[in-house]
Amino acid sequence: MELLGHLAQGFIAAATPINLLMCLLGVVLGQIIGVLPGIGPSAAIALLLPLTYGASPTGAIIMFAGLYYGAQYGGTLTSVLINVPGESSSVMTTLDGYQMALQGRGGVALGIAAIGSFIAGTLGTLGLMLLAPPLAKVALAFGPPEYFALVLLGLTALAAVGGSVLKGLATGVAGLLLGTVGIDPQVGAPRFDFGQLWLLDGVDFIILAVALFGVGEVLASCRMGSADPILNVGRVLPNREEWRQARMAILRGSGIGFLIGCLPAAGATIASFVAYIAEKKVAKDPSRFGKGAIEGVAGPEAANNASATGVLVPLLTLGIPTSATAAILLGAFQNYGLQPGPQLFQ
């Protein structure tokens, strides 16, 4: 009952016109930022933090939350329409989302991503309220062997996504290989910088994403002889059959995303990978994936939004930020005199 009372108080605080406007502003800005490669929600919150000085803490935090969720969805826009992921968590959406757009169902892909994100965010918030303290303890019990297993799961899942397991594994290992460029985190010695100063920071994900997806798409459209612009996205709402196919994917993605989001350093990217593979495994006809299966959009999109809420579990209950965005949010909370942690709720 106390929980319901607190929930009602939260709705009363959030439902004022000015706070709703701040939420709208945050979501719109977040979507713009999600579309732009190279700028993630953490950088956006850091950039916008000074602008909120003088605003009420409630409004500012609502805006940052809207920005975080909006950025997760913003990456979907470019993933579906031009096959370039705006965020690393939108990579899996390109596999089926872009195919749906080529089939004239781009609007449905965007619509189901928005609906799935909304449902996942709501379920994630319920999970945050009900399960936060025990989940935070489990999340912090994850040690190096568990993280190794999770990373191995993600990489082997990637190998299973494409048609050829050999090529999938080779591509995964090539990615790991490129990850060794820069400074060795254990020893601090530079590796594979070839005498170039700018390689000391390693190869940024955004550079890889734009090079592989963006340039690759441009070269592929050259090969086809004409570009295939997605000008008409068609209807946005899914029909009954599409909703029937996507609803369980949204629920599964929400659960997977929330649990993985609670884990330190796991994040929305791994959550979307695992959600996609889970959908492919439980599907009656896995051959549809990669050719415009709506579950391939609904599952990962729900997972990446649910993981955004999962990140708040260790942050709010224990005061421990488990991602870059959570660290910036911690700074924002402290700026407004709030200290996340066990004392926050007393």
Binding site: A170, V173, L176, R223
Partner: protein, 150 residues
């Protein structure tokens, strides 16, 4: 039956093999193991070995299972696009971000896609201006500046 290899697939496998061998050679020159602790070269060495082995397996797979329907795809246009992209990257430091991107877009629209020159000029100018406004003016990203000051 006329069976052919897809040249792109062979090229990809060879690229992986070269990358793997390069990494193995470079990693072998770094300290690999010290006492009971792996050093900087340990993981890159094993990644290189694994990638080389997988590349060999892909090549073997390609040669053993030839696709009878493999057809060659035109690569002229993609090569022009790649060359324009490479030139624009080199030009970033020489002539600056805005002129380099403007020329890249102009070449892509006018020369590659064969769109009307006026339309290509207009779109290239508009896109360059938007990128400049977003990244240089609004976000203050320090983009390369050329002799024209932009």
């Amino acid at each position: 039956m006329n069976t052919r290899l897809a040249p792109g697939e062979v090229l990809l496998a060879l690229l992986f093999a070269i990358l793997g061998i390069l990494w193995m050679v470079a990693a072998a020159r770094m300290p690999v193991w010290s006492g009971f602790v792996p050093q900087s070269g340990f993981m890159p060495l094993w990644y290189g070995i694994t990638l080389t082995a997988l590349a060999a397996a892909i090549l073997a797979n390609l040669f053993l299972r030839r696709d009878p329907g493999a057809k060659e795809e035109p690569i002229g246009k993609p090569l022009v696009v790649l060359a324009a992209l490479a030139a624009s990257i080199v030009g970033l430091d020489l002539i600056g971000f805005a002129p380099s991107i403007f020329l890249l877009l102009l070449v892509l629209f006018a020369a590659v896609e064969r769109l009307p020159v006026l339309r290509s000029l207009a779109v290239a100018t508009a896109v360059t201006a938007v990128l400049f406004l977003i990244f240089r003016t609004w976000l203050r990203v320090p983009l390369p500046v050329g002799p024209l000051g932009i």
